[in-house]
């Protein structure tokens, strides 16, 4: 009973604080920070106790919550990213509205990580969509409004498909619970997965993501890439764990997304777009091994938001070519270096542990492809690692452009990246360390071999608005075929 | 029989959406909707017993259609038809006709339903359609007036909803009959909503601005039928539930006096007509048993008057005294004014006699004073100077206007037959005396006095504030 009250209090708190900010706008930062820190505490308690809580509110038609280690990791990611973003914005002139929306976004993503029935999830995802819309449109420029509108449009259409799937699940089970997917007809699974794939930015359905994440303001990008897309990914992971038959489907999409994301990211010449595309690839890693998705999500969230804050808030330019010609402040470079190494899976950083854990749990058929993906990741992040960096006069001028809260947020995230090693200390064996280093070196060699020579621009036609919507129908057919083929056998 | 009723309720909405699909046929389709209602109303009069419909189960929609609703439906149909004729040659778009027929349909639904939720839906739809019609010219003023109307009526409907759920709590049904067992606060809240929506007593003071600032055909629709959608349920409740009968009658007397008081001193034609609507709604409520017939005559007359007022050269009575109007228009004006004053030969006479017969003793004096006030205020129209002159509007729009007049004034004369028993010597003398007295008072007193009332109470904030006072008064009335 105590746990129940505790959990409900934790879910409700961000919303209460968010509305509290409107009442007492002076305290906006403190309220926001407090809300995020409470989530950190709650997540740590979940991770330490390693218990699983299942709550059924009202009756069997009501809200179902499941909280275990997996959700603990996701919640921790969400909370740490939120703290970093708030620290980053601490000395900027963001209004109370911004903090309130951040907190509401945080709360709704939390709720998505806690619930285990389709309707609560729907509500959580829609609320997060609206809050994300408001945050993306915060600068009120035409471009930001368009990007936000596009995001809301795509995600809302996807959620409509999801709703149809949800009612089909209800029809066969008389309940909206996740485990009803077992008895649900294939079209229900296809529709629900379509919604979640789009919302989570996975595989080709996720091609709305590069524009949205790159054109949003830096802290918002960090929040979106670090935490919000995981609200769509988490239910996929949860379903894969609950329903045996869906596990292969999720894994296939994981592999596909990991490859497509890395491929696009490598040929991208804009820092923020590259990071956004790499998010697609990393989400693939999360899905590739659902059992251990939590740790990967945590390290990716920390690494990616650190990189977004660096690329958008501290680099003098967004263009790689320009960055090659100027040199960056070594301290800023260090931040990018550590975060990039972590995502590439370099030992000493938690990215290594997460990657090792995921690789352990891959099925045989995934093994080779994901190794290729790992090399691809190393290639992509070599772009950041080999940026020129030297102390120069011009650098001091650049430093003025660095956002005031940047160092605080960066230190916080990097410390988190190192500390998260503790979750899987067993990864440090000679074989695994050797493999990781070999992958990275291979990636760097490939980087030098390819980038220095090839000039290649991928067409962006697929990212057009109509195509994003159109792709949904194709994905629906593919999904239906996949699920139907599985259940048919 | 049931299918016919359901088809009739849905037909206007269907036609309305059809207008959006086939905009060329806008006028024809709208008129068709009005004619369907008209023939349905006639069919209802021919039925020996009321039509009772219970859709789905006892929690579902209930409809009761009897002679009372027949009168209201007929009013609605005739006024709509007249308005469509009036607009026939103007360049109103398909949107206008579609909204007209949708408002017609929603009012029909309000006249048919006998449960609080169906009524709520019908009233809200009519409110939205009325808003769109008021805001049709897209000028700042029209949008403000429309917004004000929508805001006031929506706040009132929120109170109403609270009342409706209290009724449900007490009786597990939303039927009107449940008011019997409902707690006093439920009745107070529901009546609050209906009084505001129907424009009765002080809660109706949003009405003068809204009805006077709208375009003439929209005013005609609003004054002729839309307010009756709020009045009809009051009448119906008074008939169904014994206890609320005195309350309804009391409000009838109050609003009849209040409206006529304002109307007598008003210097603007359309505002005078709007205030007078408040007063006439009182006559409908004063004798719920025969409210239907009064509603019919008032609807016909008031919409005729609003349409005529748009053809007058000015809205100001002072200016009208100096500018003679063309004689044909003056004749139409006089017929309508005579009818509303209760002059024999016109249906207003029959309605007034019928209402007077059904008054309770304590109401008689009040209502006679109100009748006198009506005569005084319409003397302003009757004694306008007139001369034979060419009308300024182009002939084609005038044709539409006269067609509308034929429908409305012809209806007034034809409606005499409903209650021809009224023509006894005693009954005829009394209204003549009243009218004579009224004219005398007009000539000797009111033509000279200029009193200007402050319009403070018509301000938006006060309109909303008055609601709280009214709910207290209502609660107290129901409790005692």
């Amino acid at each position: 009973m105590n746990n129940l009250i505790f959990t409900i209090g934790w879910i409700v708190l961000p919303f209460c604080l968010g509305f509290g900010i409107y009442l007492i706008p002076k305290l906006h930062k403190f309220f926001a920070l407090f809300g995020a820190i409470v989530s950190v505490g709650y997540a740590l308690q979940l991770l330490v106790s390693k218990k699983t809580f299942v709550f059924e509110l009202l009756d069997n038609f009501g809200v179902t919550l499941i909280l275990d280690e997996l959700s603990g990791y996701f919640i921790l990611t969400n909370a740490l990213v939120a703290v970093a973003v708030i620290l980053y914005c601490w000395r900027t002139e963001k209004t109370a509205f911004f903090y309130a929306q951040t907190l509401i976004l945080h709360g709704s993503v939390n709720a998505a990580f806690a619930c285990a029935d389709f309707i609560s999830l729907y509500v959580a995802l829609e609320v997060s969509g609206i809050a994300a819309f408001l945050l993306v449109a915060y600068p009120r420029t035409d471009r930001s409004i368009w990007v936000a509108l596009r995001y809301l449009f795509v995600s809302n259409v996807a959620m409509l498909f999801y709703l149809i799937g949800a009612v089909l699940v209800y029809k066969s089970n008389h309940s909206f619970h996740f485990d009803g997917l077992v008895n649900a007809p294939p079209e229900a699974v296809a529709l629900i997965f379509l919604g979640l794939l789009v919302k989570g930015g996975v595989f080709v359905s996720g091609l709305w993501l590069p524009l949205t994440h790159s054109e949003a303001e830096t802290p918002v990008s960090a929040m979106l890439s670090g935490a919000v897309v995981k609200a769509g990914v988490y239910p996929l992971v949860r379903c894969a764990l609950m329903v045996e038959a869906l596990d292969p489907v999720v894994r296939v999409f994981g592999v596909g997304a990991a490859l497509i994301g890395a491929f696009y990211a490598f040929f991208e010449r804009d820092t923020k777009r590259m990071l956004a595309l790499s998010t697609i690839s990393q989400l693939g890693w999360i899905l590739a091994a659902p059992q251990v998705a939590g740790l990967y999500a945590l390290t990716h969230g920390l690494g990616k938001s650190a990189l977004f804050l660096t690329a958008g808030g501290a680099f003098p330019s967004r263009n790689f070519q320009e960055l090659q010609q100027r040199s960056i402040d070594p301290r800023i470079w260090m931040v990018a270096l550590v975060a990039s190494l972590s995502i590439s899976g370099f030992p000493l950083l938690s990215g290594f542990a997460a990657k090792a854990l995921t690789t352990d749990r891959l099925l045989p058929w995934q093994d080779i492809i994901m190794n290729v993906g790992a090399v691809g990741t190393a290639m992509v992040y070599a772009k950041f690692i080999f940026l020129p960096h030297r102390q120069q006069e011009q650098a001091s001028e650049d430093r003025k452009n660095v956002a005031p809260g940047f160092s605080m947020a960066a230190i916080f995230l990097l410390v988190g990246l190192i500390a998260a090693n503790g979750f899987y200390i067993q990864a440090y064996t000679v074989g695994k360390i050797g493999k990781a280093i070999a992958t990275i070196v291979l990636g760097w060699l490939a980087y030098f071999a390819i980038t220095q020579r090839v000039e290649f621009k991928l067409p962006r036609a697929l990212e057009q608005f109509e195509h994003l919507i159109g792709v949904m129908s194709l994905m629906l057919i593919v999904l239906f075929w996949m699920v139907w083929a599985r259940s048919g056998i | 029989m049931n299918d016919l009723s359901i088809a009739w309720v849905t037909a206007p909405f269907f036609l309305g959406f059809l207008i959006f699909l086939v905009p060329k046929l806008d006028r024809v389709l709208a008129l068709l909707g009005a004619l369907v209602s008209c023939s349905y109303a006639v069919w209802v009069f021919l039925q020996p017993s009321p039509i009772d419909l219970q859709l789905l189960d006892r929690f579902g929609v209930t409809l009761t259609i009897d002679a009372l609703s027949g009168y209201f439906i007929l009013t609605n149909a005739l006024v709509t038809a007249a308005v469509i004729f009036y607009c026939w040659q103007t360049d109103k778009t398909a949107f206008f006709y579609a909204q007209t027929i949708i408002i017609h349909g929603s009012i029909n639904a309000a006249f048919a339903s006998t449960d609080f939720i169906s009524l709520y839906v019908a009233l809200e739809v009519s409110g939205i359609a009325a808003f769109l019609l008021i805001a049709y010219p897209r000028s700042d003023r029209s949008i403000w007036v429309g917004l004000r109307y929508l805001c006031v009526s929506n706040v009132a409907m929120l109170f109403y909803l609270v009342g409706a759920v209290l009724v449900y709590q007490a009786t597990h049904s939303f039927n009107f009959a449940g008011l019997d067992a409902a707690p006093p606060e439920a009745i107070a809240l529901i009546f609050m909503g209906l009084l505001v929506k129907g424009g009765i007593f002080v809660s109706g003071l949003w009405l003068p601005l809204t009805h006077s600032e709208s375009e003439a055909p929209v005013s005609a629709l609003l004054s002729g039928v839309v307010v009756k959608a709020g009045v009809y349920p009051l009448v119906r409740c008074a008939l169904m539930v014994e206890e609320v009968n005195p309350i309804v009658r009391l409000f009838g007397v109050g609003t009849a006096l209040l409206g006529v008081f304002y109307a007598v001193f008003e210097k603007d034609t359309k505002r005078m007509l709007a205030f007078h609507t408040i007063s006439q709604l009182g006559f409908i409520l004063a004798a719920p048993v025969v409210g239907g017939f009064y509603a019919l005559t008032h609807g016909l007359v008031k919409s005729a008057l609003f349409l005529i007022s748009s053809k007058l050269p000015s809205r100001n009575f002072k200016e009208l005294q100096k500018q003679p109007i063309s004689t044909p228009i003056w004749i139409a004006l006089v017929i309508a004014s005579f009818s509303i004053s209760g002059f024999p030969m016109l249906a207003g006479f029959g309605a007034k006699v019928l209402t007077t017969k059904n008054l309770l003793p304590w109401q008689v004096i009040g209502m006679n004073v109100a009748a006198l006030g009506t005569a005084i205020s319409f003397a302003k129209f009757i004694f306008l100077p007139h001369q034979r002159s060419e009308p300024r509007d182009n002939p084609s729009t005038m044709r539409g206007f006269w067609l509308a007049m034929v429908v409305l004034l012809g209806g007034l004369i034809a409606a005499n037959s409903v209650y021809y028993q009224a023509y006894t010597l005693k009954n005829i003398i009394k209204p003549l005396v009243t009218i004579g007295l009224g004219w005398l008072a007009y000539w000797f007193i009111f033509k000279r006095v200029t009193v200007k009332f402050p319009r403070a109470i018509e301000r938006f904030d006060h309109l909303v504030g008055v609601m709280s006072l009214m709910s207290i008064v209502l609660f107290w009335l129901v409790l005692t």
Binding site: L160, L163, Y170, I469 | -
Partner: protein, 112 residues
């Protein structure tokens, strides 16, 4: 079965409207059509077993409608409504600089 086909046809109509219509407002309207279809589908599934209110009335058993999907879809209606309002506000802002509201044009002007 026939009703189900109608409902799904509505949903698809809305979906193709989103893809094929050029104007942003029309796209939003099409989205509303699509969500109307979805809502109708919930109501349809709720009424599969019957139409009556599921409240006991004496001993008689009636073919009653399932209240859960209906209750649930209310949330979706409200959410859909608010999202639509939000989108229309955004469109209003965009229309100042892009009076035609063609999504291609807006996209061209606002993609880096």
């Amino acid at each position: 079965m026939f009703l189900e086909a109608c409902v799904l046809a509505t949903t698809l109509c809305g979906f193709f409207g989103i893809v094929l219509k050029k104007n942003l407002v029309m796209k939003i309207v099409a989205m509303d059509v699509m969500s109307t279809g979805v809502i109708a589908y919930y109501v349809l599934i709720a009424s599969r077993d019957g139409l009556f209110t599921p409240i006991l009335d004496g001993d008689q058993t009636v073919a009653y409608a399932d209240p859960v999907p209906q209750a649930v879809i209310l949330t979706a209606i409200v959410i859909g409504f608010s999202i639509q309002a939000l989108m229309l506000v955004a469109v209003m802002k965009l229309s100042r600089d892009n009076p035609t509201l063609e999504s291609h044009e807006i996209e061209k002007n606002n993609t880096p």
